[in-house]
């Protein structure tokens, strides 16, 4: 022990000594370097695949790059792409579609149903709860193509559609005739919701399970009903996961389009179920007369990313995420 102490003598000089100040600085640099060492892999990946692409996207949106002129140097065309975007006759429709799609799916499925499922499956015997959650997770495990194919089969017209084969038999003719072509939004929201709800369900279940049993017992002893226990104890205690899922799912829904692409391609007809993210993708990657308009697609994307950014920052501020950040209780010397 004495040995290790003596080794340190050079740094253990009284404060005020100039060498001590230098070593303080050196230590601080070293401590920061350690932290950044831990952050390193994350920082590199975020830079490469978030920051740089984000900037590129912005740059692209001021050019006319497309697969037709790919070999040319990018040429600057000012705000042309933006004015083209905002004067698009379908722009208002796409905007409305996006808002409708995001909020309906979020409220009814990704947040609402997720919470209900978590609450219900944690209030029945454990094994049964596991079973239902497992079934609910299946859509997430399924390849998107197959999953969508499944819904298409459910929603097809007679005689191929499963819904139309089963349900009218129970409900009479009035229950019939639900099919994909006739009510595309129902199916767009159902397909997304049935995958989206499971994420929140798992997070909420996990959070609910980690509530100390004593609290629930105490409330029961006080004579609280099931509903009161949920409202007064469980919900407040899972406030943060709720807010997190709200934020996370809003942003996810805003920028996701894979299922819609596979289910309806934005149709049927003109832009019926087209959402913003899908437009961006189509502009960039589906060719119009053999030409992928990368720059124009990037413009749609950058506008959407900006909206998402504003929302994300808004959520961060609204929920005061910063105040939740605790100071570390080990300090670097």
């Amino acid at each position: 022990m004495t040995q290790s102490l003596e080794k340190e003598t050079d740094t253990g000089v009284p404060a005020g000594d100039p060498t001590s100040q230098r070593s303080t600085l050196a230590r601080r640099v070293r401590a920061t370097a350690t932290a950044y060492g831990f952050m390193g892999p994350a920082i590199v990946l975020v830079l490469l695949f978030f920051i740089v692409p984000g900037i590129l996207l912005l740059v692209l949106s001021f050019t006319n790059l497309s697969s037709a002129n790919f070999s040319d140097p990018w040429s600057y065309i000012g705000f042309d792409n933006f004015s083209r975007l905002f004067s698009d006759p379908f722009f208002p429709k796409i905007l409305r579609n996006t808002a409708f799609y995001v909020f309906t799916t979020l409220i009814f499925f990704n947040l609402g149903l997720a919470l209900v499922l978590a609450l219900v499956t944690t209030n029945i015997p454990r094994r049964a709860g596991f079973f239902f959650r497992l079934v609910w997770l299946l859509p997430r495990l399924t390849p998107s193509v197959v999953y969508i194919m499944m819904w298409q089969r459910i929603g097809q017209a007679d005689p191929f559609g499963i819904y139309n084969q089963i349900v009218p038999g129970f409900l009479g003719a009035s229950g019939g005739n639900l099919f994909l072509g006739g009510s595309p939004w129902t199916f767009v929201i159902l397909t997304n919701g049935f995958v989206g709800a499971s994420f929140g369900m798992i997070i909420f279940t996990s959070a609910l399970e980690s509530i100390p049993k004593d609290l629930i017992t105490a409330a029961k002893v006080d004579g609280a009903s099931l509903w009161r226990i949920i409202r007064d104890i469980k919900l407040p205690l899972i406030k943060w996961p709720l807010l997190f899922i709200a934020t996370y799912q809003t942003l996810s829904l805003l920028t996701s389009f894979e299922y819609i692409l596979l289910l309806t391609e934005g149709g049927p007809g003109l832009f019926t179920t087209e959402v913003w993210a899908l437009t961006a993708y189509k502009r960039a990657f589906s060719s119009y007369f053999g030409n992928s308009q990368w720059a124009f697609g990037a413009t749609w994307a950058i506008v959407l990313v900006s909206v998402a950014l504003v929302l994300a920052v808004g959520y961060v501020k609204l929920f005061k995420f910063n105040e939740l950040i605790e100071e570390p209780r080990i300090e670097n010397l």
Partner: protein, 365 residues
């Protein structure tokens, strides 16, 4: 190792953890940091350990400032209230961890761990998982892990507060004996003043981040320098009364609505100089039931027993004297009941007097 704290302070924007702590720990001493919850004991200890960085002041080991030395290079061992054992390792894994980091020879590690474990009485538990141990055994492992490095300074943060009363008593003795035998300088944080009184060579009493007193246990008990120390040291706690000290006919008297006592001159002289109220302190053990009419000396007070708490050998009786309650220790054989009229005999030589404004002692300032 000698440890000196000089104006050691710690604050987190606005929250004060420790405020200008200055004290000097002699080589081989066990010093207790005593104080109520939140007074800054842990904060100070963690600064000594090198986990917290002081906002001001210095820490010196054997005269060398160690403010900038990393925890691992300070030659310390620490025992935590939560034990802080590594749950995924066995007992051997835990105790040997500091040595394994030093990359010592396997045989040496084994030998040293076994020796420490035997010393702690857990030599046959080395293969157990932590979860399979009782609280007391876990505490021994934790102590073993701190000792195996042969530290020059041992830090304890309320190590016994999670144990049951009986075990606490045993461990208290064991730690004290170990510390004495090995002669390792130790700092022992506790909020239990009995623990501090019985174990420590010196006690640092803290309150709200400030060091209130630093002295040997008897001195803190007999000659408390502040009202806080007087109230915190001693169990059951001291009784306090607001009185006025007057002097007539060369006789000093402590007077209030409920009391009229004659005070010994050597204690009362300084208090008489204070205009207005003075706080008088009397320990429950310095009040006795007057033995009927048998001859006795010293002033007496009369009142009614309002509460009786049996403590085993003695009863703690709350006596109401004209609206003021005084706690008194009474031998159980007296069989005091609630409602009994009692005469209390005061030992005037034990009376403490404090300035109610500065809260400093008028006797030992």
């Amino acid at each position: 190792m000698r440890v000196e704290l000089d104006n050691l302070s710690k604050s987190w924007d606005g929250v004060v953890g420790a405020d200008k702590i200055t004290l000097d720990i002699s080589d081989g001493d066990l010093v207790a940091f005593l104080g109520p919850s939140g007074c800054g004991k842990t904060t100070t200890l963690l600064m000594v350990a090198g986990i917290y960085k002081p906002s001001g002041g210095t820490i010196s080991f054997d005269g060398r400032v160690v403010n900038e030395v990393a925890p691992k290079d300070r030659g310390i061992g620490m025992v935590f209230q939560s034990y802080a054992l590594y749950p995924h390792m066995t007992v051997f894994g835990n105790i040997s961890y500091p040595l394994r980091i030093q990359k010592l020879d396997k045989a040496v590690i084994k030998d040293r761990v076994q020796k420490v474990a035997d010393m702690m009485g857990i030599g046959d538990l080395l293969d157990r998982k932590i979860a399979q141990l009782s609280g007391g055994q876990q505490q021994r492992v934790s102590l073993g892990r701190a000792l195996v490095k042969e530290p020059q300074l041992l830090l304890f943060d309320e190590p016994l507060s999670n144990l049951d009363a009986r075990l606490r008593l045993t461990m208290r003795g064991e730690i004290k004996r170990l510390q004495g035998d090995l002669g390792i300088t130790s700092i022992y944080v506790t909020h239990d003043q009995v623990e501090a009184m019985t174990m420590a060579d010196r006690i640092a009493v803290m309150s709200k981040g400030i060091l209130q007193a630093y002295d040997v246990p008897e001195a803190l008990y007999d000659r408390p320098k502040t009202l806080f120390v007087a109230g915190f040291v001693g169990n059951p706690p001291m009784n306090f009364l607001d009185i006025e000290v007057t002097r007539d006919n060369g006789e000093f008297r402590a007077k209030s609505e409920s009391i009229d006592l004659i005070l010994p001159q050597e204690r009362a002289e300084k208090a008489a100089a204070v205009k207005g109220k003075v706080t008088m302190g009397l320990r429950p053990e310095d009040l006795n039931l007057a033995e009927g009419t048998s001859g006795h000396s010293g002033p007496t007070l009369s009142g009614v027993a309002e509460t009786v708490e049996p403590l085993g050998r003695e009863d703690l009786v709350g006596v109401g004297i004209n609206g003021v309650e005084m706690r008194v220790l009474v031998d159980k054989t007296r069989g005091v009941r609630v409602g009994d009229n009692l005469d209390l005999q005061v030992d005037p030589s034990k009376i403490q007097l404090f300035d109610p404004v500065t809260e400093n002692s008028l006797l030992w300032a």
